[in-house]
Symmetry: D2
């Protein structure tokens, strides 16, 4: 049944934290109960085709380093790729996978043929999903790699590209629904500009708003129950992308009346590029009601581009999962690995090891976060810090019953002279370090 790509490896076991087996989990035990829920159901791991099975190992100064037996442009190779992919999904024991259309089928000469190929590979997926129990976290359309999209998809100056993109999204949504996908993702990697000199930003934002509205309309029309997700990224490939970060996307959704229809798929690397921490973006999305799912990776802090490395810093991941848990955990979303091997990691084993390490770090992070929640480690001091706002006079300033004038009167009458209190940052940082 197995392709043999990973040798004799069939299933990665959980061996506990003292294991030195690089091909075993030390922390990820799907059935361990965390805050009353199985760890697997918390983390909802997915592996994305994109980086793990499609990326050839190139960078701006060098070409392909990986030599995969499924590289090539035929449907037969596409099926071979699927075979290996499902081998890995099963070996890792991830409950979900994710894909772009372009990841799973070769591009054809016409739209119709490309769509038919996607449908054919979806049939192939369905069999494998049935056999393995592996589910689809989300599908998406690659609207950025082909040269037709070089100046954007929805925001292209050429309406034919908009049309082509719209038709493509429809076919990907159809496949996503058919395969029981729990979300549909849009990443606008070319929705932006290279230079303002040739760009009408207002017009392009309107195009993008209309495009997304059509996606939402279509979702309802076909009865898709999943969540529509937008993935923020500030730049790269373009100089500026409209879905800059969570705050910008929120404004965009509000502008086009979509804030109750669309949520965000947040990636650590993209948060960093926008000048934020990962936990900031997660916390903000939760506060604005648009938290959906995460792409788990990490960026190199000393590099200025998206390095998409496998995550490995547990203290940082604990803070991220703390925000996920505070937001109520995932509903349709999950933890998707949109991380890529370093281009020197040539061996099949490297692919497994990278995912194992990432999953283990997530498990460690989740468990640390859960203990912080259980202990109210941070929630306690937080309540205390804002306790002043529980008093009626304080509340009245927020509920609309006071004005600048009445507040001023109180400041004068009561000779208010606020005295600062310690923010206790180091205390809280030490406290977090008890858990990680």
């Amino acid at each position: 049944m197995s392709t043999g790509f990973f040798g004799a490896i069939d299933k990665i076991p959980f061996e506990g934290k003292d294991s030195t087996n690089p091909l075993a989990f030390r922390f990820y035990d799907p059935n361990e109960m965390v805050l009353g829920k199985r760890m697997e159901d918390h983390l909802r791991f997915a592996v994305c085709y994109w980086h793990s099975f499609v990326w050839p190992g190139g960078d701006p100064f060098g070409g392909q380093t990986f030599e995969r037996p499924w590289f090539g442009d035929t449907m037969e190779l596409a099926r071979k790729k699927a075979d290996v992919a499902f081998d890995m999904f099963e070996a890792l024991g991830v409950p979900y996978f994710t894909f772009h259309d372009a990841d799973v089928r070769p591009e054809a000469d016409t739209f119709t043929e490309s769509r038919d190929r996607l449908n054919a590979i979806a049939d192939y997926f369905q069999e494998k999903m049935d056999a393995s129990g592996i589910k689809l976290l989300w599908g998406t359309a690659n609207l950025f790699s082909h040269r037709r999209y070089m100046a954007g998809a929805a925001t292209n100056p050429d309406p034919d590209v908009f049309a082509y993109a719209a038709a493509t999204v429809k076919s990907c949504m159809d496949v996503t629904q058919r395969l029981g996908g729990e979300n549909y993702v849009l990443w606008g990697g070319r929705e932006g500009y290279e230079t303002l000199l040739n760009t009408d930003m207002g017009r392009e934002l309107d195009q993008m708003g209309r495009f997304l509205s059509m996606v939402v309309d279509y979702k309802h029309r076909i009865g898709f129950k999943g969540t529509i997700l937008i993935e923020p990224k500030p730049q790269e490939p373009t100089k500026h992308q409209y879905d800059y970060d969570v705050g910008t996307i929120y404004g965009f959704l509000k502008r086009y009346g979509l804030e109750n229809e669309v949520k965000t798929n947040i990636e650590q690397g993209h948060a960093i590029l926008a000048g934020h921490s990962f936990e900031h973006e997660l916390s903000l999305a939760a506060a604005l009601g648009i938290f959906g799912s995460i792409d788990m990776n990490r960026n190199d802090y000393q590099s200025g581009w998206d390095t998409d490395q496998f995550p490995n810093n547990v203290p940082e991941m604990a803070l991220a999962y703390l925000e996920v848990l505070k937001a109520g955990g995932f509903t349709t979303g999950g933890t998707n690995f949109d991380a890529k091997l370093r281009r020197q990691s040539l061996d099949p084993e490297d692919l497994l090891i990278a995912h194992i390490g990432g999953m283990d770090c997530c498990a460690r992070g989740l468990k640390a976060a859960a203990r912080m929640i259980e202990d109210k480690a941070l929630a306690g001091p937080l309540s205390e810090r804002y306790a002043g706002w529980d008093k009626p006079q304080a509340k009245s300033m927020l509920d609309g019953s006071m004005t600048l004038e009445s507040i001023e009167k109180r400041v004068i009458d009561e000779k208010i002279d606020p005295q600062p209190r310690s923010g206790r940052q180091e205390y809280l940082e030490n406290l977090v370090n008890r858990y990680v």
Copy 2:
């Protein structure tokens, strides 16, 4: 009448571009007509007290370098500072000035006394404004320097600080209205956080929304005709500020229903810190309907903090003023110098020379931008680039009459296969270089 601080200098003359007099304008001729309007009325220059008369020349590793005869904490020195400030405003011939409360009066022990001092200095200003014809572009409250604001003003965990800040804003709005100010500015330098560990972001955003709503209500109640402006900045002093950039502020305004009440005061240095070009922020604000005013300075591209230098790169400034002109020019807004001397520029003459250079660069930038507008240098190619969207079939995709299904049908039926066209970036860049 003059304080003599600037020696014998009384009025900076316009001498034309061949002048080598460092104390003359080479490009800024207030009466020169540009696109049918006086240059002065386009640029609407203002000088801010803050950096020009208050900053002592310190940096994180060194103390005061400037020795100004008005430094100190008495009302007498505050009046002396005003005397020199108006000397400079008149010498430069700027039509406007701007200030924070803390710039113009010494802080007192009580709120009431601080407010009274502000009112007293406002009286002093009024006399000077009447005598000189110089007007107030905007006033603002410094809600970030005093230690009471160390954890925020509107977003403070202590409601007393919120109250103190609200009362302070009221007194500054009162003074601004009394002096005929054309705008009122809020810069939330402490509205943000140092660490998420002690921060409830959702709560703080709500506090900030309420605060701003009260400001808007008060504005209407007192009949203030000016514009309320928020100034975006992503960070510094805090790790993260809620008014991150124009896109974020737009979402914030929409969330609290204030998008028709509040506009933005955009600063080059803050744009840079947020990962944007200045022209990007201007263009986006115009597209979103929240463009108000600008703070003109520049940041060092190799430094990671707000360097607030006087502007000097004319090609960049031309692109900024192009966006201002495309947005219809300033209405209540203007070009405010929120730039500071380098701390080694000790001499009174340096203060004049810095402003002269900045104003001249603005004039050059404006004139270049105006010529581009007149020639439709960029507008022509832009129309051509998006011309496809003028066709009925294209329009129908944007006006709601088409769906993903009907678009897909057209893509299939018409075998749409869009071919990319050159974006002509280098051509447009060369073209801009004809004007700068």
Copy 3:
């Protein structure tokens, strides 16, 4: 004996990792043996006066937040400051302290009086050192805060400033030697420029080279046995500092023939600002033979300036101590806390807690690094990776016995066609995660 500033706290105990006492060590046990040496002797902790007792809590947009009973400009307050400082050194149990001249005595009107004050406070230190057994890791001169140094110390365009700085360094070296200091540090925070337009870089480098040569000469003349250390930092306060990073300093030392006389004091925050990881700078310094000592703190990765926070990320610290151990550990150097409280951390307790957390993180990092060394966790794979270079033919390419021609001949004759091997980055990252 104690000042009572820290209340009843006398000595921070080691309570082990399960302790929840915020005023206890969980990992730092000075007497625990690590790789055959006491932990205290590995880490050689020092606390610096500078941030812990001198910094008032200001930032570029706000003034003092800390209210310390020793703030002020008298010698009596300087002694009070010393009393509290030694209280803290003893409470923490650090074996060393460090200081700038300006940290410990008020600046006087003349050089002579400033020097005499320094000598007086050194006498006071000597008594305390004798009583407590606390030693001096290094002394240094503050050649950057006073306005006389605004354009540099050794690199000033005014030779009188060079002279003043030279005399000042002499007096600080004298005091350092008298107090048994184990190193003398130079940080060139103003040795650089704000603008190239007014700077003669070649001349200034020569000035700096000469200055350092005089320091080295003086060291030998007075028989100072300690190490002269330069501290790299790329920028801030100035736009560009000549001691940019370890690589730049090495070139500088070679240029002036000082590479065997001077080593580096490396700080995490400065490494980050220069675009490097901390471990990179440590590793490079070791490779170049100029590793000396470390300043332990961390910078916020999302902020563009030196945030100097207390360290808290154990996995990162493990990699840093791994480099220290690989370099043979500290000789005269140590782990100096050049970290500052967040300005909202107002309470005396915050000062203790911050250091406790930092010391505990160092201890965890060191222990993890030591276990990696013991297990040859990384050394093993490393040897294997470069094993090809152990062969005679490979060695001959490095020892000078081969030329491009003879190598080409071999490539042709042997039809050399090298095949890449996996770099195993993810495997190694997972492996490190077993230890942290």
Copy 4:
């Protein structure tokens, strides 16, 4: 003779600054005399094959956008590429071109065959060079694109890669000498690391030092009269590259005794990535005696990777050429365009227009710089600023005749109390603006 790729365009004319012809020079007049030398002889323009004829328009998220008739892997296409390249060199009137081996010939299966192909294409070049008078500024070997180099060339853990790289450099040096190249360049795009975990930095630096020594030895042995140039770049493609910046390279050269043998080829984009301005790197290289040549492009200040755009900001370029002129101008070096079209600039005309714009900006920059030199615009104030150092007492501090002790004595005896003087930065910036 012409390939017709550029249509009817034969030769780009100089039409003067009022021309609106996008296919004419407005400032670059090769024969205009500047500081007593022809403009062509100052600028010494070269066009590099690499970006202009080889790059397919891809980026990390998208594939080929350019469709060039010479793309492909045959020698016939390589000759066709050369035909078009020389068409463009002649049309632009550039006196030089530059290339990597991999730019000009398809990679073969063996070293020998690759070398033979290079030699064959060199023969083809020779004919074209003879016919056109176009010369070779430099040649270089691409030691970074092929997967064999994924872990470095000289610094590879596999000695066979070192050998292969050495043989390749030999063949490129041979061709460069045969074609009369005036320099030989080494860019170490893979000489660095992705992770310290698998890297022995000291060993790799030694490998690199040995490699460069062999290159220098070979140069002398074959009587190559050109200059060996290293091109600094801090990162990208790798996380860290050893040739980080000019300062680092200087240290490296000193370490291996090569500082009189090797100079630097400095690129604006690489300077920016290392946290420097272009003019900084130029000025430092001149001060250290290792200034050689420049790659002229620009990086986007808001993007964190090497954008390699055609230059367009004249004020910045004026400051760069000012440093070139201050360094005595180019000797064997020149102005090489290592800039690439934006990937949306599809048309042949775009390729011409981009170079025309770049060359015109260089000409404007050079002319502005020359006028500053003629007027001693900056040199005058600079001399004045350092004038204090001309005095005997000041000189004695630099010439070794004084010590810390004797200087201290003078400070005390003469009661030296240096008073800061204005650095006049804004004055100087305004002054520069008179010229640009």
